[in-house]
């Protein structure tokens, strides 16, 4: 094959013309060949190539192969990781299409925003808004010692009140008009891609006759899906400080409501750490 190399610039250009449709069918064999040829050309130093670009392609292809070969994760987790990698490959191979894909995602998130409060509470809020959502710390009768829950499922967490709803910026709940409630964690999806992948996953379940319910993050976003999420809880040793939530082993909670046309709208969707992970 070495003697049959086309100039690498041509190969890359060819690859860039490949559409997302090709990738949907499974990443084409020719891309693997491209990556292999790219490596050899780089090693031979005979062509001037974009090593970073070629390396990115090769890395993703290797990751796809490695994911396919995994036997330690479920089919759902494997499919989720595969989808993410192919999306990444699309971005590398078709950078000109990024603007269009971003517009599609923006439109998706705008639509989600009209369906319920998922975006308002679990995508748009800043770090500060998430921390405000955890409310004011309650104190023991001495007025100085923070009240720490001594029993129950939230043992060790800081007791709080006056939870601020990011939807209203006040303690008034944007859904009910009553007092806003928040558990020990305030959490957020960082990427619209993850929101879409999760919504697609749960809508797929509905279409196949299942009820969409709380599901491990790894099943929906892949085994590394917990890494691009944000969450806070109050530090029990100093409730003026906030600690980051570790989402490994955590879950995604989907909540749908009727859309008025026989279907469903996404009322909310949020992420929780594994029970007992914190504090």
């Amino acid at each position: 094959m070495t003697d049959e190399f086309k100039p690498i610039e041509t190969d890359v250009k060819d690859a860039l013309t490949k559409t997302a449709e090709d990738i949907e069918k499974g990443y084409p064999e020719h891309l693997k060949e491209l990556a292999e040829r790219t490596e050899k050309v780089v090693a031979g130093g005979s062509k001037k190539v974009d090593e970073e670009h070629a390396g990115n392609i090769k890395k993703i292809l290797d990751d796809l192969d490695a994911n396919q070969a995994r036997t330690d994760i479920t089919p759902n987790a494997k499919a989720a990781a595969d989808g993410k990698l192919k999306s990444k490959l699309t971005s590398v191979l078709d950078p000109e299409g990024e603007a269009g894909r971003k517009t599609d995602l923006d439109n998706f998130m705008s639509n989600v925003d009209t369906q319920g409060h998922m975006a308002g509470r679990h995508y748009k809020p800043s770090d500060q808004a998430l921390q405000d959502r955890l409310g004011d710390t309650k104190f023991e009768s001495d007025g100085v010692t923070p009240k720490i829950k001594q029993s129950g499922p939230n043992q060790g967490h800081v007791a709080s009140e006056n939870f601020v709803d990011p939807l209203t910026g006040t303690t008034v709940d944007g859904e009910t008009g009553g007092a806003h409630r928040c558990g020990p964690y305030a959490t957020r999806f960082d990427n619209p891609e993850d929101v879409k992948q999760a919504d697609d996953f749960f809508r797929g379940q509905i279409a196949s006759g299942q009820i969409p319910v709380e599901t491990p993050i790894s099943e929906v976003l892949g085994p590394d899906g917990h890494q691009e999420l944000t969450g806070f809880y109050k530090d029990p040793t100093d409730p003026t400080q906030y600690k980051n939530v570790d989402f490994e082993g955590g879950t995604i909670v989907p909540v749908y409501r009727p859309d008025g046309s026989g279907g469903q709208k996404l009322h909310t969707m949020f992420i929780n750490p594994a029970p007992g992970k914190h504090p």
């Binding site: 309650k138 969409p212 709380e214 909540v255 009727p258």
Partner: protein, 97 residues
């Protein structure tokens, strides 16, 4: 415990969701696959009969803080009647702090 029932409780009875009321949940169940909802109802009834979930276990799943198993099952019985038998009284979880 049935996996779908466990996930259903974790989502739709999570303290943040249940505090908004259960009407939307009752309504959306009518849009899901009827067999799946019937199975959910059957497994929910079984949970009420076996009481295999403690208040603490339930709290880990939903963050809701019930004082006792008796309080929890009084609530869950009311939830069952509201969701599946169109009872009028809409139960709410205990306040969260």
């Amino acid at each position: 415990m049935d996996k779908t029932l466990k996930g259903f409780i974790g989502a739709y009875l999570n303290v943040e969701v249940a505090s908004e009321g259960l009407e939307g949940t009752r309504d959306v169940l009518k849009t899901f696959n009827a067999d799946a909802v019937e199975s959910l109802k059957k497994n929910f009834a079984e949970l009420l009969a076996t009481r295999e979930l403690t208040a603490l276990d339930y709290g880990y799943m939903t963050y809701a803080e019930f004082e006792s198993d008796e309080d929890l099952y009084a609530y869950l019985q009311a939830v069952y009647e509201y969701l599946f038998n169109d009872a009028e009284n809409e139960p709410g979880p205990p306040p969260y702090e």
